[in-house]
Symmetry: C2
Subunit: 162 residues, 2 copies
């Protein structure tokens, strides 16, 4: 991974990835997520956001979902997550781009900023559950999200065994 | 646990405990942490805070630590944490009170607000690591914390096997 705090290109406009620090400590490490010096921080702490965890059990796929207004910021402190994102936003300069990423220790401990309007789905990679922490810029609102089945032909990705 | 969102008494002045929701979902639950309707939310999102994780391996005790300025808000989304807190604040109405709590699923999924000036230490309970997510009101500053050895006689608590 490139140096911490530098924003990485993902291929999808507005989809930002920032590698994070894991600091070894006796009895277990400390893992950064959001800090005031993060380029992704301002848009969370200014608003009435929400912080929550989503656990993904091995062998399950949670796909597809899209938020029309909520901006999400994911870190995966435990387990390894495979996340696939698809840009279907009208007028987006990266419309039609699909992005597959891994999030988790040791090599992919990072912050992922997902703008509204991106389809995404995820699965735990390997035999352990993956834990997502999401710092969302607005609180949960069931009227602002949409879903599609994992095998929907509108998204050019086929989920196999993780 | 009492109903969600109601603040529970811990016996230590300013030490607040708020039970949280775990929402079952296919492939793994969603676990609340911080929401705008939480009585503990305002003091985090107003300032230049930090969100980070601390992992505790089974068999290890991380103790004792005290923050002179940082206010901490803990949730434990994975594993079970035993946390012991001791009030040695001059002038505190609960000076001398010791509090032992468990944080983690299924019965103790809650938010714990730790005011500055409280000694605390923790250990993973059982054979799995425990993961703490801390939403702190100010970013990490090594000059505002103090430490004591786990067996320091100034704190009336003996750590045994967890």
């Amino acid at each position: 991974m490139p140096r911490q705090n530098a924003i990485q290109n993902t291929g999808i406009d507005g989809l930002l990835l920032q590698p994070l620090a894991v600091i070894p400590a006796e009895g277990g490490p400390v893992l950064h997520m959001f800090r005031p010096d993060s380029p992704l921080f301002a848009n969370f702490c200014g608003g009435p956001g929400e912080v929550y965890f989503s656990e993904v059990h091995p062998g399950h796929v949670k796909a597809w979902k899209l938020h029309t207004r909520q901006q999400q910021t994911f870190a995966v402190p435990s387990g390894l997550l495979k996340i696939v994102l698809y840009d279907q936003r009208p007028g987006s300069p990266t419309r039609g781009v699909l992005c597959e990423l891994f999030l988790g220790r040791p090599d992919h401990y990072a912050l992922l900023r997902i703008p509204p309007g991106i389809w995404y789905g995820f699965a735990a990679h390997g035999n352990s559950p993956a834990l997502i922490c999401n710092c969302a810029d607005i609180a949960h609102d069931p009227t602002e999200s949409r879903r599609l089945p994992a095998d929907d032909p509108a998204i050019p990705y086929r989920w196999g065994k993780s």
